[in-house]
């Protein structure tokens, strides 16, 4: 009967562990679908033949055009090219109305962070996938997950709470993650590098 005394404690322990490891992380994020289900796979297929740089380009002066504007899509999509319902929505709701697509940016850094793609791509030679995952080969866009409290995107905060068994891009893009990567590569950093 001595063991019986531990049952309530054990149940409480298990409930909290389950909640803390599984339920809370799920409940912590609000999921929103992107306005259009864009297929990277279709656009980079042999048939279409586009490359990443056609939409996400780094100009000569170092400016990075992260999310393409409507003017990038419009030349090919003034009329639907296929039978996709999503493409029809693109043409009807955005291209024909000349309305920008309100993409939800997975990797949007907060206001107090200055980040430049140029040194990371050109100098450090880091691949896009390192931070953004295998995005270019997916057939549909992931849900945009936003922390209900901090309002940060999940790509910024990281997918794994303890960072075990997570791919590099799932580790997150918070200050510690940037700093960790810089230290690994022997990059000098100061507060004013990222916080102007």
């Amino acid at each position: 009967m001595k063991l019986r005394g531990f049952i309530p404690f054990g149940v409480g322990l298990l409930v909290a562990l389950g909640g803390g490891w599984f339920a809370v992380p799920r409940a912590m994020y609000r999921r929103t679908e992107q306005p259009i289900q864009f297929s990277h796979k279709t656009h980079t297929s042999e048939k279409v033949g586009m490359s990443c740089q056609d939409c996400h380009s780094l100009s000569a002066d170092g400016k990075f055009s992260g999310i393409p504007r409507l003017e990038t899509c419009a030349p090919c999509h003034t009329e639907p090219q296929g039978k996709s319902a999503e493409e029809k929505r693109l043409v009807d709701e955005y291209v024909s109305k000349n309305r920008e697509i309100p993409w939800l940016v997975y990797a949007r850094q907060p206001e107090n962070v200055y980040f430049s793609h140029a040194p990371h791509i050109k100098l450090a030679g880091i691949k896009c996938e390192r931070c953004h995952g295998p995005h270019g080969s997916t057939g549909r866009l992931r849900s945009y997950e936003q922390n209900r409290i901090s309002t940060y995107a999940r790509d910024v905060e990281g997918y794994s709470l303890v960072k075990l068994n997570a791919a590099d891009w799932q580790q997150g893009m918070k200050m510690n993650d940037c700093s960790h990567c810089h230290q690994q590569r022997g990059v000098q950093e100061s507060c004013l590098t990222c916080h102007k």
């Binding site: 404690f9 409930v15 909640g19 803390g20 907060p110 206001e111 409290i149």
Partner: protein
């Protein structure tokens, strides 16, 4: 089997839950997210998103007026860059765009009550301040006391308006800021007996002997610093190895207060070498005698004099606050050398032609206890100087009103503070810097929308004048209208050239079709330079004034000297980013740190980091000792730090260190007898 759930079971369940929760990342993550949430409250201002643009303007935080480019996002400045790559901005200039958001910013006029070492501020309507000023002026007129304006940034169009204002009052006094650059040139002007101003033409100069002038620390328009890169030889006379002394070819560590004797010693060598006409009155200043007085080796004095004579054209420059006799002896060396670098310089034209202006009066020439009403105009920037210099000129019941964007610096001494717009929220005028050979005008354009509660100083002046029934010519109502009037005078004269900093192109002022066109060019970042005088003062050769006998008596055992870096004192408030950096890095001295030579520390039995009391004739304050070989023995370096009150630290109580440096009988507040005792 029936199980009864007892209260104990519930508590055990809760305990298990608590322990379990601690073993998950959830509570720790929640703490982190909550911390981020507090940074994203809706009422926290956010910079707008928008296109990135660059705007050319000038930095108005100090008289140098460095050309700069402001990077703007959505029209608001987010970073400052030097427009000329070879002239990088100082820390103050780099963070100038933070100042409009400074926590010490004043939103409304305030009555300041000073009692028991603390201050209390009460918001009041602007009319209350105007009525108090008008009442004070009326009372001063009745009592035959002075009404004074202390202009912390003289030479502006608004300065003309203040001069005109006090000229209309029977006992009006216009006082330019003590410690400002170029204040000592009036001594030279009087020696020459010239009605013109004195300009320094550094273009052809090959050697400069500087007596404590901070040439490499943001002096003038930084022309000397540029010339150093072109091979100019610099000999720095200073009791500490400042940044200027570090870049100089020779550093002469002369005892503070002995500068006049050193100048006379140099003159003695020049005469002995027959480089200048002989004067028997200098015979006693032999290199050995002067060496004993100054601490500078005799051969260094001889070498300096010979370099001045042989590697000409040469120029001798005095820093500020050395005292009248020292300034005359030092600057007079230029006349002895027949210096071509000293040129007559016309000052910027008045916005309105007017004969009734009152002449500026230096603070040391104002009678003690004579001022009943003092207006401190800090709308153009701040200058750090010992406040007792001003306080002893005030009557006991004097009314002090300050115009300032911040409750910091001189504004803390006032009875009323009137908020004005800071740099970047309004147009600022940058009059001629000390190292310009001709008149010069730059204008800093506003890049931010103004805060509606701030007061235009010109409008405030008009209000006081109206309330005091004083008539001032011109139909201007705002500071901008005053500046435009000055630009119109320049355009009408058609003299000088306008240089566009962005592309280096120049255009004659006469080629501007209208005053508006010239104004638009200046507001876009161009600079107007007047015509250089063709003549110089070279042929005038009055001998330098000799120091009085008392300057030749043995020096005090310990002398406190002021070190006032412009990049932390030109604005009453400094960016919180920089003050935090200064506090944590030691890049600048803190408000209560003094620096002495390790030998001096040994003699006084003090160690680095020890607490001590710094005592002068003006009082005492608690300080922390730092030791450094860069300070000569027998000297205490007292640095002006970012204003403690503007850092959010507790003000009042202990005296500010700079305020302890009250002038001695010869008027020098740069060298004051002091004592350091263990606290």
């Amino acid at each position: 089997m029936k199980m009864n759930v007892t209260r104990r079971d519930v508590l055990k369940f809760a305990g298990g839950g608590a322990v379990g929760a601690m073993l998950t990342p959830a509570p720790w993550r929640a703490i982190d997210d909550l911390a981020i949430w507090t940074q994203n409250w809706r009422w926290i201002p956010r910079p707008p998103k928008g296109p990135s643009t660059m705007r050319n303007t000038a930095c108005a935080l100090c008289p140098a007026g460095c050309a700069l480019q402001a990077r703007c996002i959505g029209g608001l400045p987010v970073s400052m860059h030097a427009a000329i790559a070879a002239s990088p901005l100082c820390p103050l200039g780099l963070t100038g765009h933070h100042l409009p958001y400074h926590p010490a910013r004043i939103a409304r006029p305030q009555r300041v009550i000073h009692a028991g070492g603390s201050t209390r501020r009460i918001p009041v309507p602007l009319d209350t301040v105007v009525i108090a000023m008008a009442g004070g002026i009326a009372e001063a007129r009745r009592a035959s006391c002075s009404v004074a304006v202390l202009d912390l940034r003289p030479g502006r169009s608004l300065s003309w308006a203040w001069q005109r204002f006090v000229a209309a009052i029977s006992n009006g006094v216009y006082i330019p800021a003590p410690g400002r650059e170029g204040a000592n040139l009036t001594a030279l002007q009087e020696m020459i007996g010239s009605g013109d101003g004195v300009g320094l033409d550094l273009d052809g100069v090959r050697t400069i002997v500087s007596f404590r002038a901070p040439l490499a620390e943001g002096w003038g328009h930084r022309r000397a610093l540029d010339r150093l890169q072109d091979g100019l030889r610099l000999i720095q006379v200073e009791p500490l190895r400042s940044r200027t002394a570090s870049v100089a070819q020779r550093w002469l560590a002369a005892r503070p207060g002995s500068e006049a004797a050193l100048a006379c010693g140099i003159a003695n060598v020049l005469m002995a070498d027959r480089s200048v006409p002989f004067d028997a009155s200098y015979e006693c200043f032999t290199p050995d005698t002067v060496s004993a007085l100054t601490g500078v080796p005799a051969d260094a004095i001889v070498a300096t004099a010979r370099e001045l004579a042989q590697n000409g054209p040469s120029l001798v420059i005095a820093g500020e606050g050395l005292g009248r006799h020292a300034e005359e002896a030092i600057l007079g060396l230029n006349l002895l050398l027949g210096n071509n670098a000293l040129v007559p310089r016309s000052e910027l034209p008045a916005p309105y032609p007017d004969e009734a202006l009152i002449a500026p009066q230096e603070i040391d020439r104002v009678p003690d206890r004579s001022i009943a009403v003092l207006l401190v105009d800090g709308s153009g920037g701040d200058v750090r100087f010992p406040w007792p210099l001003v306080r002893r000129k005030l009557r006991v019941d004097a009314l002090v009103v300050a115009l300032s964007p911040f409750f910091a610096g001189s504004a803390q001494r006032a009875d009323y503070v009137v908020p004005v717009l800071p740099y970047l929220e309004t147009i600022h005028e940058l009059p001629t810097p000390i190292d310009a050979p001709a008149a010069r005008l730059a204008i800093a354009a506003p890049l931010l929308p103004p805060r509606s509660s701030a007061v235009d100083p010109a409008r405030f002046l008009r209000d006081i004048a109206r309330a005091s029934r004083i008539d001032i010519p011109g139909d201007w109502k705002t500071s901008e209208e005053l500046m435009r009037a000055r630009v119109a005078v320049i355009q009408a004269k058609g003299e000088g050239t306008v240089t566009t900093i962005a592309d280096g192109s120049t255009k004659a002022a006469a080629d501007f079709a209208s005053a508006d066109e010239l104004w638009e060019s200046l507001i876009a970042g161009a600079v107007w330079d007047g015509q250089k005088a063709t003549a110089s003062f070279a042929r005038k050769r009055p001998r330098p004034a000799l120091p009085p006998e008392k300057e030749l008596v043995p020096l005090k055992p310990l002398i406190a000297i002021a070190h006032i870096p412009r990049d932390v004192t030109a604005s009453a408030a400094v960016s919180p980013v920089m003050t935090k950096l200064y506090q944590e890095s030691g890049l600048r001295r803190t408000g209560h740190m003094v620096v002495i030579n390790p030998a001096t520390a040994g003699q006084l039995r003090l160690t680095s980091g020890a607490a001590a009391r710094l005592e002068t004739a003006a009082g005492s304050t608690r300080v922390v000792i730092a030791t450094d070989h860069a300070v000569m023995p027998g000297v205490v370096e007292v640095s002006a730090a970012p204003d403690a009150a503007a850092l959010g630290e507790k003000g009042g109580g202990e005296a500010s260190m700079i305020d302890l440096l009250v002038p001695d009988a010869s008027g020098s507040w740069q060298s004051v007898a002091a004592r350091l005792v263990e606290a």
